[in-house]
Every structure is written in structure tokens, then in C-alpha cells.
């Protein structure tokens, strides 16, 4: 089992974080960001052509992280590859010893920087999880036998703030049934709503480690942007006010993130911190949230 899988199995409160690959082959700032928290988190997500903006791929960046001794989580979206290419990329990952795979739909290509691109969506996220599980059982999607069988630790995502919540939970349950072993959520700012969501998940009998998404809130502008443009994310007025009134944005960002983590901690198995370039704050957030800086 992957290190992430073991950390979750141990029952410890697990922290993951995230980097985004660069546009162009200069990996310095991406890898420098990982350096800030690489040894203090259980695993690092690497986004896959995030926001449909063309850049270095997830696999190459995962390999770089692994070379440095970090535990990568390779994100895979369904937008850019058909079932042949998705399965091949899963095998590629396994060849490099990358086991943690987070399967997502992917933002629509028209929202990115190549809006004229042809979208693929040959599989959806549930089918991608099931396909990866099939590879682990030695068969490809067409039922052909594999020579050399990969091991994965599969994950999916859910957006607790989206209505209708029942539809979210139906899809979440399918991901679990398809083979997901962990779930990371869209970013959470309202812990009450998050708790209600988790209650519903449990009442449906769904049992899987859930890591609450924590975005580092950098500015009032960012909060307003997310409220207007990011589905399922809502930054409440009191947080916007706090950001507005503070003289030290970074200190405030740390304080807010740590506070949300403390609030959601009783209801989940971990948190996934999305620093969006402010990776240097991750250790301080972990500290202020009262969590251990030695993940394993």
C-alpha cells in the first residue's frame, strides 16, 4: 500500500497539500514550493492541466517529487485523454512507482487557455476509478490480461457545498463502489455546512476517509472571485471582513486556515491544503491548527 494509504489506515489525522506544474519547463518554483511542506505532509497532489491551462503534465511532476523523497498524488482528469491514453498513463505512473491517483472530471476546455480544443471525456471520473481498479486486478477495460499488474491507491473528489447535495452523495457513493479509497473535497469555509454534509454521507452508510479541502485565502479579491466564479465555494462575509481589516494578510491567512482545520477536524480524517503559491505558510498552518509536523 502507498505511504498515503498507510497513513490513512493508521487512523492518524492526515494532511496533504498540492502543487501546480509550470507553463514551460522551468520546474524551480514548483519544486521550491513543495520543499516548504514536502516533509511535513503525508502526500502532495499534482494537478493535471489545471483549469484547462496547458502546462507540464502531472506525471512528470510527480516523478520529480518522488525523486526528492516526497509522496505524490497524481491527479488525472478525463478531459484530455481517451480510454486508451488514460489506461496507458496509469501504467506509466505505476512504472515510476506512483500509486496514489486522484481521478477527476476536469474543467471544461472552453474555460482554459485553448478554448478551441476538442474535449474528450471518453470516460467520466467514476468510470476512470473503476478502470484503474480493473488494471489492479490485471485486466484492461477491454478485458485483456496485463503482463505485470500495477498497484494503485485511488481517490476521488466531492463538492460538499453543491446543491442538490443528494446528487453529490449519489456520485460519491458510486466512486466508493468503483474503488476509491480516499476522498478530497472542494474547499471548505463554512464548517457547519461541512459537518451537515458529513452527517448525510454517514447516514447514507458511506464509509471512506474524507480529507476536507482548505484553500489558503490570500485576499478579499480572491474571496470575491471565488464567490462569483467557483461553483460550490462560498467565503462568508465575516471572513472577508477579517481579511479586509488585517494589516498582515499572510498571518491572517494562516489564522483563518488553521481555525477552519480545527473546526472540521472532528468530522473528517484529514485535510487537503491548497496553498496556490503560498506553500511557505503550510507548516505554520499545521502548527497553529495544533497538528503534528511529522506525518508518517
Amino acid at each position: 500500500m502507498s505511504k498515503l494509504g498507510e497513513a490513512l489506515k493508521s487512523g492518524k489525522f492526515v494532511i496533504t497539500s498540492e502543487v501546480g506544474p509550470p507553463k514551460g519547463i522551468n520546474m524551480t518554483s514548483c519544486l521550491d514550493e513543495a520543499k516548504h511542506f514536502g516533509e511535513k505532509v503525508a502526500a502532495i497532489n499534482v494537478t493535471d492541466i489545471q483549469s484547462a491551462v496547458m502546462r507540464v503534465g502531472s506525471l512528470a511532476t510527480c516523478i520529480k517529487l518522488k525523486e526528492r523523497g516526497y509522496e505524490p498524488i497524481m491527479q488525472m482528469v478525463c478531459r484530455d485523454r481517451n480510454r486508451l491514453s488514460l489506461q496507458s498513463e496509469l501504467l506509466n505512473a505505476a512504472v515510476f512507482g506512483i500509486e496514489n491517483i486522484l481521478c477527476l472530471t476536469g474543467d471544461h476546455q472552453t474555460l482554459g487557455d485553448h478554448p478551441q480544443a476538442k474535449g474528450v471525456f471518453d470516460l467520466d471520473s467514476v468510470q476512470l476509478i473503476a478502470t484503474a481498479k480493473g488494471l489492479m486486478e490485471g485486466k484492461d477495460l477491454a478485458g485483456n490480461k496485463l503482463d505485470g499488474i500495477p498497484t494503485f491507491f485511488l481517490g476521488g473528489v466531492v463538492s460538499p457545498g453543491l446543491d442538490p447535495v443528494e446528487l453529490q452523495i449519489i456520485k460519491l457513493e458510486k466512486k466508493v463502489r468503483a474503488g476509491a479509497r480516499f476522498i478530497q473535497t472542494q474547499s471548505v469555509f463554512e464548517s457547519d455546512k461541512f459537518r451537515q454534509f458529513i452527517d448525510k454521507v454517514h447516514s447514507m452508510g458511506i464509509n471512506i476517509p474524507i480529507l476536507a479541502g482548505i484553500i489558503i485565502l490570500k485576499s478579499v479579491g480572491m474571496a470575491k472571485f471565488m464567490n462569483e466564479n467557483v461553483a460550490g465555494v462560498f467565503v462568508p462575509d465575516n471572513l472577508i471582513k477579517e481579511m479586509k481589516e488585517t494589516k498582515d494578510k499572510q498571518a491572517k491567512a494562516v489564522e483563518i486556515a488553521a481555525r477552519i482545520i480545527r473546526e472540521v477536524k472532528p468530522y473528517c480524517q484529514g485535510v487537503h491544503i491548497m496553498p496556490l503559491g503560498w506553500g511557505h505558510l503550510v507548516p505554520e498552518i499545521i502548527k497553529q491548527a495544533g497538528l503534528s509536523l511529522t506525518p508518517m
Partner: protein, 240 residues
């Protein structure tokens, strides 16, 4: 029906530049209903073109563009350009023109060209856009991608392949907000539509099954269908 939209006048004019005797060929079926290429629209388009070319003629040549030359633009509309019998009826007339601007869908343009078999140039006057229905007078909406393996029974009569911008089969992506799609906040999220419809029907359990990947090989493009009554084994290729 097939829904299409007329190309911008400038683009059509540019295509027609090399030709003097031009026929605008209308189609009286789908594109007449969606007000893009029926008898009325074909007539309007030839008048517009006539005027536009006349204007060019009176303009002094600028930037190396010669003044437009005299053009003859006529119109004929047939019932369907996707049916050989209607094209055959006017074939003798069609061959008298330098170029034929077909305002049928892409099928009609190609099929007319196929019947004329290289005798005349066929040009497209429309951009063929989707298979749709008339939602309101003057408004057409897409509803089917002709996938060749219909699953509407599983989704309450709302097509996930068409109505979801990502053709997702197992539920929505994380991008819908207030029931609208991330691609266009004025358009309904197909998966929220499916959910609401199934809830009304009391059949929500239908979307709880994990749907297997779609068979995108169900249609062997370009595909062909031969009605059983017309299959002649051994002579005609039989559709399997």
C-alpha cells in the same frame, strides 16, 4: 430536425467571388423550419447578395480589389436536398450555373454535390450546427448527438451525452451552480435536469447504478443503414 445557421454574408460573398452565374439552392425541410435555408431565406439571401455585389461594382477599386463584375443570382428551392428524387427533378437547371450555393444542411450540400458528381461547384451557405427542437418560436435547442445507442430510458428522457457539456454518464461534475452549467451560466446543467426529472418520476434509483463507459464505436462513422426490406444478400452490402 437538423438545425443550421446562415454563414455571415461576407464569407458567402468571398466564396462566390470567382463565379458569375450563381444559383442559391434552398431546402424545404429542416432548414426551412429553423428559418435558415428554406424558400423564403434562399430568396432573401439572393436579394442581399445581389445588392451587395451591385454596391461593390459602384465602389472604386481600393487596395488592389477589382470592382465586382455583373453577377446573375437565381433561386430554386426543392423539398429535400437529402433525397435524390428531388435533386434529379431540377438537375438540368442546376448544371446551367457556374456555382450552386446550397443553403441546406451539410448533408444536403454534400448529397447535391454527389448527384452532380463534379459537374458543378457546390458551396455551403449555412453552418450546420445540431439536432434539435423548436423550444420557442425562433429558438432551437440541441437535444441529441446521434450516438447510435440511446440510453434515454436510464436517465428520465434527458440525454446526458448531449445535455451535459462533458457527456458524463455517472452524475455531475463539480462545476454546476444554481442548476446551471460551468460552461455557460445561462444554460441548465444536464445532470441537475436528469436528477429533477427522475425525482419527479420517482425513479432516482436509476442513476445509482454505475454506468459502464459508453460504446463510442456504436456508430461507425460514416455509417450506413439499410432497411431490412431493402437488403439484398450477396448483392447489396448488408448492414450488420
Amino acid at each position: 430536425m437538423i438545425v443550421a445557421k446562415r454563414k455571415p454574408l461576407d464569407e458567402i460573398k468571398e466564396m462566390l467571388k470567382p463565379y458569375n452565374k450563381i444559383l442559391v439552392l434552398g431546402c424545404g425541410s429542416c432548414v426551412a423550419v429553423c428559418m435558415a435555408g428554406g424558400e423564403k431565406e434562399a430568396g432573401l439571401l439572393s436579394t442581399e447578395l445581389q445588392m451587395a455585389f451591385e454596391m461593390d461594382k459602384t465602389l472604386p477599386p481600393s487596395g488592389g480589389t477589382p470592382p465586382g463584375s455583373a453577377k446573375q443570382i437565381d433561386t430554386i428551392t426543392i423539398l429535400r436536398q437529402c433525397d435524390r428524387e428531388y435533386i434529379d427533378e431540377v438537375k438540368d437547371k442546376l448544371v446551367q450555373y457556374d456555382a450552386i450555393l446550397s443553403v441546406a444542411c451539410g448533408v444536403g450540400v454534400q448529397f447535391t454535390a454527389e448527384v452532380l458528381n463534379g459537374e458543378k461547384v457546390l458551396l455551403p451557405g449555412l453552418n450546420t450546427t445540431f439536432l434539435g427542437a423548436t423550444k420557442e418560436p425562433g429558438m432551437w435547442v440541441e437535444r441529441c448527438l446521434a450516438c447510435g445507442d440511446c440510453i434515454l430510458d436510464e436517465t428520465g428522457g434527458v440525454c446526458p451525452i448531449t445535455m451535459c457539456s462533458k457527456s458524463l454518464m455517472n452524475g455531475p461534475c463539480g462545476g454546476h451552480e444554481k442548476g446551471k452549467c460551468e460552461v455557460d451560466r445561462n444554460r441548465d446543467c444536464g445532470w441537475v435536469l436528469i436528477y429533477e426529472r427522475l425525482k419527479k418520476l420517482g425513479k432516482l434509483e436509476l442513476i445509482k447504478d454505475i454506468k459502464l463507459p459508453k460504446n463510442y464505436g456504436a456508430v461507425k462513422r460514416p455509417d450506413k443503414i439499410v432497411h431490412e426490406a431493402y437488403q439484398v444478400v450477396g448483392k447489396e452490402e448488408v448492414k450488420k
